[in-house]
C-alpha cells in the first residue's frame, strides 16, 4: 500500500518527540566556557583568514559590553554563558564522497528523513546538513555548479568564495545588532551559504537541516544567502534536537540579500525539542533573521514554529529599494509550558514598497504566545503599503495570547491596514464535527489546519504536509 498521510503521522509521533534520539557519533567538543581564546580557537580550528577572526573578535568585544535585553514576553532563567561549549564537531574527517560518510551519521540522516540518495534526487531538493556545529554534506553540488549556484557550508564558502562572504557578512545583521547576534558573530561555527548568480532561477529547493546532538553545546550557525540581480531561489530550513532535561541554547543569524529584481522565498519548519509536558528541558531559540530588498526585489518569509521551550525570533525585511516587497507568513504553536515571542519587522525605506504580514498564533496548555510586529514607514517611502493580519486561537483556559503591534509612519502617503482577531476554539464547531462522525481530536486538526491554511499554502508541498502533521502532534490532547 502506498505511503499515506496517516503513515507519516504515525511515524512522526512514534515517540513523544520523534527527533529526541541521540546519535552515537564521536565528537570533538571544546571545553565549556567563553573568552577571547575560545573565539580564537574556533577560528583557528576552522583555519579562518585573519579578516574573519577580526570580525569575530570585534563582535566578542562588543558582546562583552552588552546586557541581555528582556523586553520579550517570555521568561527563562539567567543563562550561564560559561557553562556552554561553543564548538562541537563530528570527529571523523570531512568526507569527500557520500560513500565515505560515517554510517552512524547516515543512519541519523535517515531517521530525520534526509537521505541523499535517489529518493531526494527525485524530489529535487538539494540538502545541506548541519550536525551540531558543522556542516556535513551538501548534495547536488554538480548540478548546481553548472548554473553557477553556490550552495555549501559556511566554512567552505569562506575558503572558496571569500570575496562574497567578506562583502556581505554582517551587512544585514551587524555584529552589534543585538545581544545574541553579537554572540553568534563571535562564536558561530558553521552554517549555510548560498549564492544565486544574476538571472538564474534556481531549479530546485535548497534545504538546510540543522541538528543539535551533543549535550551542553550551544548551536550558533550562520546563514548567508545572496540572490543576485533578477535571480530566484526557494530555501527551506528544518531544525530538530534530542530530548534532554537541560535547556540548550540555539542562537542563529540568517542574512538574506535580495539584489535588484531578485526574489527569495525562505521557509522554516522549526521543531526544536520543546521540553516535556511539565516544561522541563527544551531549546532556547533566540534567532535573528533579516533580509534586505533592493529595487523591485522580494523576500518572503514563511515559518511554522512548533518547537523550542522559548522562542524569540522576528524574521524581518528592510525594504530599501523602490518597489520592493516583503512578506511574512507565520504559524506559531505553543503547548504545555512553551513560550513564543515572534513576529516581524517591515522597514519601508524605498518608494512604492509593499509588505504583507499574516500571523497565526495557536496557544494550548499553559503556554504563552505573543505576536510582536513593527511596521515602519520612513519619510522617503512614498506610497508604502502594509497589510497585517494577526489572529490568535486559544485552545485552553490557562494559555495566553498576546499581540504587540508597533506602527511608525513618517510619510503621509502610507496606507496601513491592521486586522487582529482572537478566538477560542468553538464548542459549536467541535460539536458540529462530532455530529458528522468526526472525533474531537480530528476535529481540532481540521479546524486548526483550516485556520492556518493561508500560511501553510505558502510552504513548498512536501514541507506543507510535514508541517500539518507537526501541528497535529503538537496539539494532541490539548482540548477536552
Amino acid at each position: 500500500m502506498a505511503y499515506s498521510e496517516d503513515d507519516l503521522k504515525k511515524e512522526l509521533k512514534d515517540q513523544e518527540y520523534k527527533y529526541g534520539f541521540t546519535s552515537n557519533i564521536e565528537s570533538e567538543v571544546i571545553p565549556k566556557g567563553l573568552n577571547e581564546d575560545v573565539v580564537r580557537l574556533i577560528s583557528s580550528k576552522k583555519n579562518e583568514p585573519q579578516w574573519l577572526l577580526d570580525f569575530r573578535l570585534k563582535a566578542f568585544a562588543h558582546w562583552k559590553t552588552m546586557v541581555e535585553k528582556r523586553w520579550a514576553h517570555v521568561s527563562y532563567p539567567e543563562i550561564d554563558f560559561q557553562n556552554i561549549s561553543y564548538y562541537s564537531s563530528p570527529k571523523a574527517k570531512k568526507e569527500v564522497s557520500w560513500d565515505e560518510v560515517d554510517p552512524e551519521m547516515k543512519a541519523t540522516m535517515d531517521k530525520l528523513g534526509i537521505s541523499m540518495d535517489e529518493q531526494k534526487a527525485l524530489s529535487g531538493v538539494a540538502v545541506d546538513f548541519v550536525f551540531d556545529s558543522v556542516s556535513v554534506k551538501t548534495s547536488f553540488q554538480d548540478k548546481l555548479q553548472e548554473l553557477g549556484v553556490i550552495f555549501c557550508s559556511f566554512s567552505e564558502a569562506v575558503k572558496n568564495h571569500p570575496e562574497l562572504v567578506k562583502k556581505y557578512l554582517g551587512t544585514v545583521v551587524p555584529p552589534t545588532d543585538n545581544f545574541y547576534a553579537a554572540l553568534n558573530s563571535a562564536v558561530f561555527s558553521d552554517g549555510s551559504f548560498c549564492y544565486i548568480p544574476k538571472g538564474v532561477r534556481c531549479p530546485m529547493e535548497l534545504s538546510t537541516y540543522f541538528r543539535i546532538n551533543e549535550a551542553n553545546t550551544g548551536q550558533f550557525e550562520r546563514t548567508l544567502l545572496i540572490a543576485d540581480e533578477g535571480s530566484y531561489v526557494s530555501y527551506l530550513e528544518g531544525c530538530t534536537a534530542p530530548s534532554r532535561d537541560e535547556n540548550q541554547l540555539h542562537a542563529a543569524v540568517v542574512e538574506l540579500i535580495s539584489l535588484d529584481g531578485a526574489e527569495i522565498k525562505y521557509s522554516t519548519v522549526q521543531n526544536w525539542y520543546p521540553g516535556d509536558k511539565d516544561g522541563k528541558g527544551g531549546i532556547y531559540n533566540f534567532v535573528t533573521k533579516r533580509g534586505i530588498c533592493h529595487n523591485h526585489s522580494k523576500i518572503s518569509w514563511t515559518q511554522v514554529e512548533t518547537g523550542s521551550a522559548v522562542t524569540w525570533k522576528y524574521p524581518s525585511c528592510i525594504l530599501k529599494g523602490d518597489n520592493s516587497i516583503g512578506e511574512f507568513y507565520s504559524v506559531a504553536v505553543t503547548n504545555h509550558y512553551q513560550q513564543a515571542d515572534t513576529g516581524t519587522k517591515m522597514i519601508h525605506l524605498g518608494k512604492n514598497t509593499k509588505s504583507t504580514i499574516i500571523s497565526k498564533g495557536i496557544s494550548a496548555g499553559f503556554s504563552n504566545n505573543s505576536y510582536r510586529g513593527l511596521v515602519q514607514i520612513h519619510k522617503n517611502a512614498t506610497n508604502a503599503r502594509n497589510f497585517t493580519q494577526c489572529d490568535s486561537l486559544l485552545m485552553s483556559d490557562q494559555c495566553g495570547a498576546h499581540t504587540f503591534p508597533y506602527i511608525e509612519v513618517k510619510n503621509s502617503t502610507a496606507k496601513i491596514e491592521h486586522e487582529a482577531t482572537t478566538s477560542k476554539i468553538g464548542e459549536d464547531q467541535l460539536f458540529y464535527c462530532n455530529q458528522r462522525g468526526i472525533s474531537t481530536e480530528k476535529a481540532i486538526n481540521l479546524i486548526v489546519n483550516g485556520y492556518c491554511k493561508d500560511v501553510l499554502n505558502k510552504l513548498p508541498m512536501e514541507f506543507a504536509v510535514e508541517a500539518q502533521k507537526l501541528l497535529e502532534i503538537s496539539l494532541e490532547g490539548s482540548v477536552g
Binding site: 464535527c433 455530529q435 472525533s439 474531537t440 479546524i447 489546519n449
Partner: protein, 250 residues
C-alpha cells in the same frame, strides 16, 4: 429504528423535556410540531448528544443500541444525522475535505476501507445535483459565506453523502424561500427509502406540503400531547397552537 421512552432532560437545572415517548420505524417520516419553547430543538440536541443537556430519566434505543451511552461522534457513525437549524461555519476547511474526513471516520468505525478518490468524487457529483448545490460550494469552506438557503441545502447535501439511518431535520425550513424549500424537500424525499427514517421538526405546516409525514406529533411543554396523521398538521395550521394549549390538561 428509534425508541424513546419517558425521556427527561435538563439544562442548567431547568427541566425542558418532561417525559417524551416516541417510536419511529424504518421507512417512516415523523413530523414534530410545536410552539416556541416547547422543547423541539432540545429533543434533537439530546438525541445528537450535546453535552449541555443532562438526561435525568428515560431511555433511547437506536437500532438496538443504547443511544445515550454513545459519544456524539459514535451516534453519528451509527447512522444518526442532525441537520442543524443554524449550521456552523468552519473557516479554511473545505466542504469536500470535511465530508471526506467524516465519511472515512464512519468507515473506520464500521471497519470498512477508506473511500477512494474516484468513488468520493462520483458521490459528490451525484449528491450535489440532488440538492442543486453549486459545485463551487463543495470546494468552499464549510458554510463560510454561504447564504441561509445555501447553508440548509449544504446540510441536506451532507446528509446525502453520509447516508444516515435516521435523519433529524431541525427547523430546516426556517429562513428558506419557497424555491429553496422545494429543493430541500425534494432532496429529502429522494433520499427516503424503506431502510431509513426521518424526523422533521418544524413550526409550520408549509414544509409538510412537500415532505409528507406518516405521523404528526405535537410537542408542548416538554411532552408529546397529541399524535395523529398528516391531517393533524392541517388542523393545527387552522386552529393555531392555542387549541392544543387549551386542550392540554396542564
Amino acid at each position: 429504528m428509534i425508541k424513546i421512552k419517558n425521556l427527561h432532560a435538563n439544562i442548567d437545572g431547568k427541566e425542558i423535556l418532561k417525559g417524551i415517548n416516541l417510536e419511529v420505524k424504518a421507512g417512516e417520516v415523523h413530523a414534530i410540531m410545536g410552539p416556541n419553547g416547547s422543547g423541539k430543538s432540545t429533543l434533537s440536541s439530546v438525541l445528537a448528544g450535546r453535552e449541555e443537556f443532562e438526561v435525568t430519566e428515560g431511555s433511547v434505543e437506536f437500532d438496538g443500541k443504547d443511544l445515550l451511552d454513545l459519544a456524539p461522534e459514535d451516534r453519528a457513525r451509527e447512522g444518526l444525522f442532525l441537520a442543524f437549524q443554524y449550521p456552523i461555519e468552519i473557516p479554511g476547511v473545505s466542504n469536500i475535505n470535511f465530508l471526506k474526513t467524516a465519511i472515512n471516520e464512519k468507515r473506520a468505525y464500521l471497519n470498512q476501507e477508506p473511500v477512494s478518490a474516484k468513488e468520493f468524487l462520483g458521490m459528490v457529483k451525484e449528491k450535489s445535483a440532488l440538492v442543486e448545490l453549486d459545485a463551487k460550494l463543495a470546494n468552499r469552506s464549510v458554510n463560510e459565506g454561504f447564504s441561509g438557503g445555501e447553508k440548509k441545502r449544504n446540510e441536506i447535501f451532507q446528509m446525502a453523502m453520509l447516508t444516515p439511518k435516521l435523519a433529524i431535520l431541525d427547523e430546516t425550513d426556517s429562513g428558506l424561500d419557497i424555491d429553496a424549500l422545494r429543493i430541500v424537500a425534494n432532496g429529502v424525499n429522494k433520499l427516503k427509502s424503506p431502510n431509513n427514517a426521518t424526523i422533521v421538526i418544524t413550526h409550520y405546516q408549509r414544509l409538510l406540503d412537500y415532505i409528507i409525514p406518516d405521523f404528526v406529533h405535537v410537542l408542548y411543554d416538554g411532552k408529546i400531547v397529541k399524535s395523529g396523521s398528516k391531517d393533524l398538521a392541517l388542523e393545527l395550521e387552522e386552529k393555531g397552537y392555542d387549541w392544543i394549549k387549551n386542550e392540554s390538561p396542564l
